[in-house]
Each structure stands twice: as C-alpha cells, then as structure tokens.
C-alpha cells in the first residue's frame, strides 16, 4: 500500500495539480512554470549522461540549440509549421550530430571528455554565430507557433497557451517515465555499471562503447526536444542557446539537485530558477535586486557547503545526523 502511494498516486496527484495550476496563477507564473518544465526536461536529459552514466558533458546545449534552430528554420515563415514531421526531424538532426560527435568524443574520458564535448558544442555555436544560416549573432524569429496536424485537421494548436502548457507538461512527464523505466531496465543497469566501474563492465562482457553512445544519443534527442519546446515558447532563437554557459547552467542544475536520481535534475532546476527569480525581484529586494548576482552566488555557495549530496540528499542527510551524532570518519 505504502509503496503504491509513493510510486503511483503521488506522481499522479502532482501531475493533476500542475495541470490545473494555470487556472489559478497569472499568465506570468504560468510562463515561469513552462520555463521550469522545459529546463527540467533539459536537465533530465543531461542527468542521464552525468548522473546515470558518468559522462560529464559540457556541450549539452548544442543539441538544445540545434533542435531549436532546426524547428525554427523548418517552419514556414508566415504560417504554422507541422510538428508531426518537424518534431522528429528536428530531434533527428540533433541525434545525428550526437552520433557523429559522440562517436568521436567517447574515445576520451573524464575531464578530456568534458572538454571535447565543449569543443563540439562551440563548433555548433560558431556555425550559427558567425554565418548567416540562422541570422548570425542576432538570431531569428519563429513567427508562428507550430502545431500538430494531419492534412487540414489540427490536432494540437500550440498557439493556445494552455494547450502549449499541457503539451510541455506531457512531454516532461513522458520523458520522466521513459527515463525511469530506462534506468530500471537492463540497459539502465548497465549504464549504472559503466558509471561505477567501466573496466569491470567490459570484463564482464558489455561493449560499453555502444551503451555510452546510445545513452549519449538518447540524451541529445531529449535535449533537442527541450530545445524545440523552448523555441516554440519564445518564438526566438539565438546562438547563445548553445553557448557553453548554457551547457554549464544545465549542468549546475543537475549538480545542485543531486546526481544519479531523476528527481535531482528537476529539483535542481526548480531551485536554481526560483532562486534567480527571487533574488532578481525588486519587490523583495528593492534597489539591491540589481546586485542579485551577489545574493544568488552566496546562496549557491551556502547550498553547496551545507548539502554534500545535493538537494535530493538532504532528507537522508538529516536522518543520518539524527541517528548518529558522532563517530564518522574524521574529516581531514
């Protein structure tokens, strides 16, 4: 009984509540929730790499940006594009880029991997920044939100704010469910094994390269999905979407939330975005809100100092503290 509440009823409740939120919150907060959901999806996709497989990528924004650009460029200029084919194609483009760059970057390990992924992302960045493909450094507009349609029958029109909200929510939920199932499956177990000790996995008979590459491509595809949603949300894409700072931001979300658990990515995202929101708020901080980087930075430092396992480790940490007041390994 207890576990079924935890595993089924609670998430369902959460879903329903989130789905109903736009009815009570203002337009702005609805948009904020959409933003949080998109970034959560983005962070989840990175969690698959960083927390679940141990592949720390500092170039994940490339896929976010590539798909965002793809959907923008594929859309006809003055009418609504059809996501039914644009969605898979845009994600597919990101995945093809992931296949090529992943096959190359996975030859390296550790910090070297971090830097190679960064390099490939910067290449994508400069392609869009320095050439005219996508409007150069100024970026380009997606004038009309895309929709799902078959023939003339419009299934989902994302121009409607609530439809879009629900669409993002469903994407996020499906991604979560998909990743949760994935991580419990044999494939996921193998990823965990690679995270912990790749050498042993190979000795046992796992071709780890294939696993890592698959994980890399899946993560990129999901990152691309987030990018598409982002482009649809704002109708504007810019090369900065795939800059290393964007990659760094989503990495921070994962680290802050805690690594290895899906909820970590989401909690990290929510926290980071809300903190930014709060410290920037003139209503709360008055004139000092201009210096929000200071308060935000300090908040991050404090969070790290107090929570060695990220935000999701917090309950565990508190329980452990209550249990044994002393007698841990000496901290030298």
């Amino acid at each position: 009984m207890h576990s079924s509440i935890r595993n089924f009823i609670l998430p369902l409740l959460l879903f329903v509540v989130t789905a109903l939120l736009p009815l009570v919150t203002s337009e702005y907060y609805t948009a904020l929730i959409v933003k949080i959901m998109i970034y959560s999806l983005f962070a989840l996709s990175l969690q698959l790499l960083v927390g679940c497989t141990g592949l720390i990528s500092l170039g994940h924004a490339a896929f976010f940006g590539i798909s965002a650009y793809a959907v923008t460029l594929l859309s006809p200029q003055y009418e609504s594009g059809n996501l039914l084919w644009m969605l898979p194609v845009s994600i597919g483009i990101a995945m093809v880029y992931a296949l090529i760059t992943g096959a190359l970057s996975l030859r390296t390990k550790g910090v070297y991997f971090i830097m190679v992924t960064l390099a490939f992302a910067q290449m994508a960045y400069y392609v869009f920044h320095d050439t005219k493909i996508g409007g150069g450094s100024d970026g380009i507009y997606l004038y009309v939100r895309p929709e799902f349609r078959i023939g003339d029958w419009v299934i989902l029109n994302l121009d409607n704010a609530y439809v879009f909200y629900m669409f993002v929510l469903v994407c996020l939920t499906l991604t979560w469910v998909f990743l949760a199932m994935l991580m419990r499956s044999r494939f996921g177990a193998a990823l965990t094994g690679i995270l912990v000790n790749e050498q042993r996995m190979r000795a046992a008979g796992f071709s780890t390269f294939g696993y890592k590459l698959t994980a890399y491509i899946i993560a990129s595809g999901l990152g691309g999905l987030a990018g598409i949603l982002y482009a649809a949300k704002d109708g504007y894409v810019n090369p900065e979407l795939m800059n290393w700072e964007q990659s760094g931001l989503v990495l921070l979300m994962v680290i802050l939330g805690g690594m290895g658990r899906l909820s970590g990515a989401v909690i990290g995202t929510i926290t980071l975005i809300l903190l930014q929101e709060i410290f920037q708020s003139q209503a709360l901080f008055g004139e000092f809100a201009v210096h929000w980087h200071l308060t935000f930075g300090l908040a991050i430092i404090i969070l790290v100092a107090l929570m060695p396992k990220g935000l999701i480790g917090l309950p565990e940490q508190l329980r452990a503290r209550r249990r044994s007041s002393a007698g841990s390994p000496a901290a030298h």
């Binding site: 452990a320 007698g327 000496a330």
Partner: protein, 236 residues
C-alpha cells in the same frame, strides 16, 4: 621499556555500524605485535583509527605520552609511526624515485638509518624501474615500493597491513627477513598478515580480533602452541 602506543577503550563506527568495541592495544618501544583475525573483523579499522584516519567515538590514543586521540594522520606519522596500507596507496602519478623521495624524512630523534640507497639495496627490483610511474608497476613491485616508502620516514614503529600480499615467495621471505632486521634494530612493528604462522614466528605478542572485540592477547610463542585457539578464531 617505554610505551610507544597506548590505546584504551576504542570504539569506532562507520556511520551507524559499530566496528570496534572497547579495544585496548599497547605497544612498547621495540616490541613487535601481530594482529590476527578473520576477514572483516576490524584489523584495518583498528589501524586506521590509530593512525587518525578514523576518529573513535570514545576511548583515547596516547603515543609517546602525548594524547593523539584527535590528531590528524600527519601528526601521528611525525611521532615515528609509518604505515603500509592495505592496497598499498602508491602515488600513481609519481615515478618510483619520487614515490620514495617524497616520503624521505629523518626519524623522531634524528635517526637516519634508512635512505634512498638503502631502500633500493633492499629492493633491487625497484632500481630497474626508477623512472616508471607508480601505476605501471606490477602488483608486487608496488608492494615493495610501499614498504620502501614507509621505511624512508625512519620510523620507530612500522605498521604493515597485509604487506606481503601479492609478493613472490622469495620476496616474502626477504620481507620477513627485513621485518626481522627492522625489529632487531629496535623498531617496533604492528603486523597484519594472512600468513599467521609467519606472524606468530615474527612477533613477540599477538592480539586476536573477532567482530571488533579483542578476544585473545598472548605471547606469540604461547599462542602458536594452542592450535585449538587458532582454529576457533582463524578457522584453521
């Protein structure tokens, strides 16, 4: 004879699991003590507690009349305690020569018996591999290096946790011979080794741990004449 290490009533935890229960251990200067017990009984834990890597929840550790219960490992080491850990702890990114030189130090009262040349004389195999990184050594070579490195600190007491693991019989014999010389030169030793016969033969006294409790503490000579005890505690 002066007491070098005197640990009283040690209780050590890993998180919530209680591993050492009221352990007492006293080592005199020049004395050689063996630590016996099956796998997982807490031998390594006891050593790490003595070294200051783990902090006991209760009990106290006195080394040379100074309280070191809450000291950091480097403070303990500076009292002339050298440690060859289980798993060797070689610095993989330093070559053999550097692994040795980084540890070089004269002993507590300025003794300088052990230096680079003497260590290499003792382990000629290392001489051939001076420029190689620690990571590239064979298992046995690493073990020699770890012992050599500990000796470079000119210790008064040498703690060997499974120091002969992975060594060829010839070398093992050599190491026991060295332990014997070290012992004869007045350096105390605390030895954990799976070859209990050798331990018994090379120590003055043995402490037997079972589930974190000291269950036996006897002269090595006496203990070796009591096979029933050995069977009970070591399963042989």
């Amino acid at each position: 004879m002066t007491v070098l290490i005197n640990a009283q009533g040690l209780n050590t935890f890993y998180g919530a699991s209680h591993v050492l229960f009221n352990v007492n251990l006293k080592i005199q200067a020049g004395e050689s003590v063996g630590l016996l017990g099956r796998n997982g009984m807490g031998k390594t834990t006891l050593i790490r507690t003595l070294m200051g890597h783990l902090r006991p929840t209760s009990g106290n550790i006195v080394i040379r009349d100074k309280d070191h219960t809450r000291s950091a490992p480097y403070q303990v080491a500076r009292e002339g305690v050298a440690y060859v850990p289980e798993g060797r702890g070689i610095f993989p990114n330093l070559n053999v020569r550097e692994n040795l030189l980084v540890a070089a130090r004269s002993g507590v009262n300025g003794r300088n018996d052990w230096n680079y040349d003497r260590v290499l004389e003792t382990f000629p195999r290392l001489t051939e591999r001076l420029g190689h990184g620690g990571q590239q050594l064979s298992g046995g070579e690493q073990q020699m290096l770890a012992i050599g490195r500990a000796l470079m600190t000119n210790p008064d007491i040498l703690i060997l946790d499974e120091a002969t693991e992975g060594l060829a019989p010839l070398i093992v014999a050599e190491i026991w011979r060295i332990i014997d010389t070290i012992r004869k030169s007045g350096v105390s030793t605390l030895i954990v080794d799976r070859n209990f016969r050798k331990v018994l033969a090379n120590t003055d006294r043995c402490v037997v741990l079972e589930k974190g409790v000291v269950v036996e503490e006897k002269d090595s000579a006496t203990l070796s004449k009591q096979p029933e005890l050995l069977t009970r505690y070591l399963g042989v």
